[in-house]
């Protein structure tokens, strides 16, 4: 089962896709989110969000600045103020 991942900025929806795992730079440490993660919310620090399309694949990195991440039943949503791709 893939994880539904969305990356949103104020100006647009950057990503909305099914992935294997996403590693998010949380304020209190990085955390990886797989499918079926418990409901969770965290602010994020400036850093790279790593997107793993499949297990063991090389991650795709997207630099984000300011925002927060939310995990709920429908997947992971990262709300970032700025995104550099």
């Amino acid at each position: 089962m893939p994880l539904h991942f969305e990356l949103v900025t104020p100006a647009r929806l950057v990503r909305s896709e099914e992935v294997y795992m996403v590693v998010v730079p949380g304020t209190e440490g990085e955390f990886g989110v797989l499918e079926g993660h418990a409901p969770f919310m965290s602010t994020i620090r400036d850093g790279a969000v790593q997107i793993y399309r499949s297990a063991g694949a090389t991650p795709e990195e997207i630099q984000v600045r300011g925002g927060f991440a939310e995990v709920n039943a429908s997947g992971l949503t990262v709300l970032a103020e700025h995104v550099e791709d």
Binding site: V8, F40, M41, T77, L79
Partner: protein
């Protein structure tokens, strides 16, 4: 009676005016499409943020340790009116409608004995508000250097507002902008932005959500961000409204110019004919006299 040459001149000048209004109308139509797309694209973020805010704020609201931005200063004496206008005219009553809404609110507050200060965004609101309330215009935020006010501007406005709020310069802030309904209708809107009103989105989640850091910390981070999003949304709505209003106004202007040209052309033809008739009569009369 205007001479033929004068009429010809007027017709030509109205024709060139019509060309300008027509061009402006087409530019506005193209820009409207872009502005609408931008407003569309900003919606997911705003919706998600409002959702998260709603669930967090409902947990913390009412507590004494709630962040200042949510709880308010406890007073309602000093009001800040944030008026968002455009930098350019040629948009019908777009700017004056927003200014009018702000003036009405200001009158209301002043009548109730409150203090009012204005925070003006954009160039077009300055003159009328300064004329009516010369001593009450505080900050004038300049957006003339940027093509289209975007998130960077919303960010700067929000930061300035939060700083002013924390310095105790005002208790309540209202935002005035024009909500875009269609190219024909734009609704001047008032919205309270500080203290942040709790969005009434009921998030149906009975699952226990874990927060990192705790709820209050997140909320503290979230509130300024929410304010920025609201300002950004208002700026986008304003842009779409401006282009819509401009399109309608210029369409009317083009049509009026067309009517005027028709009227002048008829007048021109009549005078031309009259001149010819007079000339003929003169010739005939001259021939008869011989």
């Amino acid at each position: 009676m205007a001479s033929l040459k004068e009429l010809k001149g007027r017709i030509n000048s109205v024709k060139s005016t019509q060309k300008i209004t027509k061009a402006k109308q087409m530019v506005a139509a193209a820009k409207l499409r872009k502005a609408q797309a931008a407003a569309e694209a900003a919606r997911p973020y705003a919706a998600r943020l409002a959702g998260v805010m709603g669930s967090l704020a409902s947990k913390i609201a009412g507590q004494d340790n709630a962040p200042l931005l949510l709880r308010g200063t406890g007073a309602a004496q000093k009001h800040l009116l944030v008026v968002a206008n455009s930098d350019k005219g040629l948009a019908g009553a777009f700017n004056s409608n927003i200014v009018k809404a702000a003036m009405v609110k200001a009158q209301e507050l002043l009548a109730a004995g409150k203090d009012v200060e204005f925070y003006l965004v954009g160039r077009k609101g300055r003159a009328p508000i300064r004329r009516a309330h010369p001593s009450r215009v505080g900050t004038m935020f300049d957006t003339t250097e940027v093509r289209e006010p975007g998130y960077a501007e919303a960010e700067r406005i929000a930061e300035e507002l939060v700083a002013m709020y924390e310095a105790g310069k005002f208790d309540v802030a209202h935002l005035f902008f024009s909500r875009f309904q269609s190219a024909l209708t734009q609704v001047p809107t008032v919205q309270q932005i500080i203290p942040v009103p709790t969005p009434d989105t009921q998030v149906a989640s009975d699952a226990v959500v874990e927060y990192e850091p705790d709820e209050e910390e997140i909320l503290k981070e979230l509130l300024p961000r929410y304010l920025k999003t609201q300002l950004f949304g208002a700026l986008l709505e304003n842009q779409a409204s401006e282009q819509g209003a401009s399109m309608t106004a210029m369409d009317n202007a083009t049509r009026n110019a067309g009517d005027l040209i028709n009227k002048l052309t008829i007048q021109y033809n009549r005078s031309r004919q009259a001149a010819i008739t007079t000339e003929l009569i003169e010739i005939i009369a001259g021939a008869e006299a011989l």
